[in-house]
Symmetry: C2
């Protein structure tokens, strides 16, 4: 636990000089510097980040707020964040909020007090006023996966377009009765995916059948129940568009348990492209989100903000999602 004083003593200089030699921002006599470095090595000196942070008012730490790291979308995002953070000398604090805004506020308050230099939120909702407040206070904030209006920097995909494209693909392969298994529509992202679905149908002159619009909005709801209930009612779609891969997995399970085949009887398209999705039965055709890249970019952006870059206006970075075609969709010869 050598301190700067120990190093100074050993190198025969003052602590100030040690500090300067280490910072590199101030000219220091070459030979002095060498002596300091020598002592640093000998003592295995590591500056105390706390003291440094207290003095400088920053800690090189960022808070990453996710709904739940167990939701398979977020590990890759977190990994992207952490990789660029580390590379730039930052450390990341992981916070799970379970979509609970009060819990999130508490967390943010706790971390904010000079603990953390900025936040990445993967939890944004329309009601997330605390995020706006942070931003207004001048606190560096960036959003990922979910965005809020245009007022806060965000790294997201174009959910509307991706969903539109996925449903168009289903239509172009001969599907006419396309069911959607949607998530929590209090989230913009799921509303956008729904709009993509709606417009794709509309553009093809297909009406939207209320019976084919399913909900799987709960925390661990993967749509199995909703799809099974639909089937049991005798409603038979020729395709299911699931707005997440877990929901696609739930839908496939329900279809099979009901005694139908995927994709021969019902095609299924997912959204996410999780690691396992290529290994499902059948391998899942799905919208691939570049989750790692989104995390990485969010971290880059945040670190720029922390380093004092003042962009004229918040920027919404769109990263490219793309439909990955595997085997869960049958080309129907209508």
């Amino acid at each position: 636990m050598a301190t700067i004083k120990d190093v100074a003593r050993r190198a025969g200089v003052s602590p100030s000089t040690v500090s300067r030699a280490l910072s590199g921002r101030v000219p220091v006599d070459k030979e002095t510097k060498e002596r300091v470095m020598e002592a640093v090595r000998a003592l295995n000196y590591k500056p105390n980040v706390l003291a440094k942070g207290l003095k400088e008012g920053k800690t090189n730490t960022i808070g990453l707020i996710v709904p739940n790291i167990c939701n398979p979308v977020f590990p890759a995002v977190a990994r992207g964040v952490e990789d660029v953070a580390r590379e730039r000398g930052f450390t990341v604090i992981l916070c799970n909020t379970d979509e609970n805004i009060e819990a999130e506020k508490d967390y943010v308050e706790k971390l904010q007090k000079r603990w953390v230099d900025g936040f990445i939120f993967a939890t944004a909702r329309e009601e997330s006023h605390h995020i706006l407040e942070l931003k207004e206070k001048g606190f560096p904030v960036v959003l990922v996966v979910r965005h809020m209006a245009e007022v806060v920097d965000a790294v997201v995909i174009d959910n509307y377009k991706s969903s539109l494209e996925a449903v168009r693909y289903l239509i172009s392969t001969g599907h006419r009765r396309i069911c959607i298994v949607n998530g929590d529509t209090s989230l913009t992202l799921y509303r956008e995916r729904f709009e993509g679905y709606r417009h794709a149908l509309e553009a093809a002159g297909l009406g939207m059948e209320p019976d084919l619009v399913l909900d799987a909005a709960g925390r661990d709801d993967n749509g199995y129940g909703a799809v099974m209930a639909m089937l049991k009612k005798g409603v038979l779609p020729d395709a299911v568009f699931a707005t997440s891969d877990p929901k696609a997995i739930g839908a496939i399970r329900a279809i099979k348990d009901y005694g139908l085949r995927v994709p021969e009887d019902v095609s299924v398209v997912g959204f996410d492209d999780l690691d396992i999705s290529a290994f499902l039965d059948p391998p899942l055709t799905t919208v691939s989100q570049p989750l790692y890249e989104m995390g990485a970019r969010a971290a880059q952006r945040l670190i720029s903000l922390i380093n004092g870059e003042k962009p004229d206006k918040p920027q919404m970075e769109l990263v490219q999602a793309k439909l990955v075609i595997r085997k869960s969709v049958k080309v129907r010869g209508y």
Copy 2:
């Protein structure tokens, strides 16, 4: 950004008194305390954790070191850690090391210098001398998922026993040619799982066939290739014991791609019980690891250590894993 001085001024007392009123550890006049609390509220004062940490030599922060949060075993562990950490007023820093010992050492060195009060490692290997060193220095350390000899506290399952039980189940359901798809045997945990396999076969008087011992040790190797290669060689097991669920998924995919059915032709048992495993086709029979609980217990243990509890000797906490029987194993009427 009110500081303790602002509060003191407003309450008409000294900063020392504010500090004492807030700590609760020292008697303070009731009325004075009220005035202080009043001022705290009015100013929305939050103590600066950095300053506090600098003074007290602790930060209420723990480092969680995992190989890769994208490996689906770790999110649940992380969640368990974070939940109990938060409850006890701690914050968790997430570190991914990709099994790279040098990267890990760097990380640990960086965090150690009073940044972090203790570590939870999910990355332990036999070569992890730095973990031992930390421990020897008196730094609070606990291991989770993987353990090291008996010298460091750890929260793990009995991998040998769980694996033994799984293979016994396969034997008791009439399987005779049981293939194992094993992971990286430089990890104790995979060696233990292998031993369980070996002993179960031995106890049943079944020889171990080298052709049925498969390796899927690489980072993203889920065994698809190894199983497919075996099948193509004309080696046909009646069951596959996969030592992780991702490997079970890879094995199932390979078996099906080869034109065989699961479980009619080949049964499959996994290990982990991931969230999706119940929704695979067929729903996977697998050893369920209580990952969340393991994380939670590891955090409890670590926080006890941080709070100065000095157990006579390191403790290896065994949590219970259990075989969950679903539909990927066929009872064969031999």
